[in-house]
């Protein structure tokens, strides 16, 4: 830091002359008035320097304060982003809670289905992910994609990046079939439904006969929803009917305007559930063996 200040140069000279005690012959000739004038001049010069230094210090203090304010702002903003990360963690936990609520096992469904809130989707999602785009009527608020499988809706939420809510479905054969589906209207084009599938079905696409009879569109796809494209091997082949069972009351926008043809009566739902349970039990060879032995035991007892 060089401020072009050399305050001691002239002063020392003067002070030396003052403190030397003995005055040289040349000094004797210098009049006292002249000496006082030189001292005064020096004092003025140093005072001006002093003033300049004080001003510089004031300016620097001001700049330092503003810089410090900027720094504090930055620090508070960073802590704000930490809070956002905490919110994201909370969302992930909520999402896992959904999985627990619907009875998914922790091993197969340890992944979070929310791609947005999950920072490491590759680590998080082990299941195969595919996407299908379906064009629908924009006035139709239902988030139903007819893909040939039966689905149960287990949740719905509003995401930050899209005004339309996102609906969560699981395959009706769950927990034996681990496939899950997310459906949301495209943010760019609301007439397109984006369905994201996780996992692969481990069963046939066809529906049980009892369900077929319940469906209003037997064997035909909904005329309002026609597949636009499929990004991979998503089950977009639409022919068998789809019945979506509303196990949870939707919380999103405009769900009260759902198509009445897609609603199923409550006794019918119960019947479907009973039949599905029976179907899943009869698929289990251990159960059928146990049942057979129990029946044969009863028969023998009776005899």
């Amino acid at each position: 830091l060089d401020l072009n200040i050399n305050p001691s140069h002239n002063t020392i000279k003067v002070l030396k002359r003052e403190s030397s005690g003995k005055l040289a012959d040349s000094d004797v000739k210098v009049p006292v008035k002249q000496e006082t004038g030189a001292l005064l001049e020096e004092l003025n010069r140093i005072s001006a320097e002093n003033k300049k230094l004080t001003e510089m210090l004031t300016v620097l203090c001001e700049r330092y304060s503003s810089l410090q304010n900027q720094y504090m702002e930055l620090v508070s903003r960073n802590s704000g982003s930490d809070a956002t990360a905490a919110t994201s963690k909370k969302r992930k936990a909520e999402c896992e809670d959904y999985a627990t609520m619907i009875g998914f096992s922790g091993k197969a469904e340890s992944s979070c289905s929310d791609e947005d809130s999950c920072k490491k989707p590759k680590d998080c999602i082990k299941a195969k992910i595919s996407r299908a785009y379906v064009r629908t009527n924009p006035s139709d608020n239902s988030l139903i994609v007819r893909d040939g499988y039966q689905w149960r809706k287990y949740g719905q939420k509003v995401t930050r990046d899209n005004p339309s809510p996102r609906a969560y479905f699981k395959c009706s054969f769950a927990p034996s079939c681990p496939v899950k589906k997310k459906v949301q209207r495209s943010a760019e084009d609301p007439s397109i439904l984006v369905a994201t599938y996780e996992g692969e079905h481990n069963h046939e696409q066809h529906s049980p006969p009892a369900l077929s009879s319940l469906s209003p569109n037997n064997g035909t796809s909904n005329p309002r929803s026609a597949p636009v494209s499929s990004s991979s091997s998503a089950p977009a082949k639409s022919s068998p009917p789809t019945v979506t069972l509303e196990l949870m009351k939707p919380t999103g926008l405009g769900n009260d305007t759902q198509n009445p043809t897609q609603q199923v009566d409550e006794p019918a739902i119960q019947q479907i559930l009973v039949q599905q349970m029976a179907a899943s039990l009869t698929r289990d060879p251990n159960f059928t063996a146990a049942l057979a032995s129990a029946i044969s035991g009863k028969v023998l007892d009776h005899k």
Binding site: L3, E18, L39, L43, N50, M56, L60
Partner: protein, 39 residues
């Protein structure tokens, strides 16, 4: 007498000047450190 008082004043102002220069140097250092933290 007058020149003695002047010399005294000169010494005082000189001392103040020195302190101000030191303060300014310290302030500059702090400012630079903070700026480097920000960048």
């Amino acid at each position: 007498e007058e020149s003695g008082a002047l010399v005294e004043e000169l010494n005082r102002v000189n001392e103040e000047n020195k302190k101000l220069t030191e303060m300014l140097a310290a302030m500059c250092e702090s400012y630079n450190a903070l700026q480097s933290q920000l960048t």
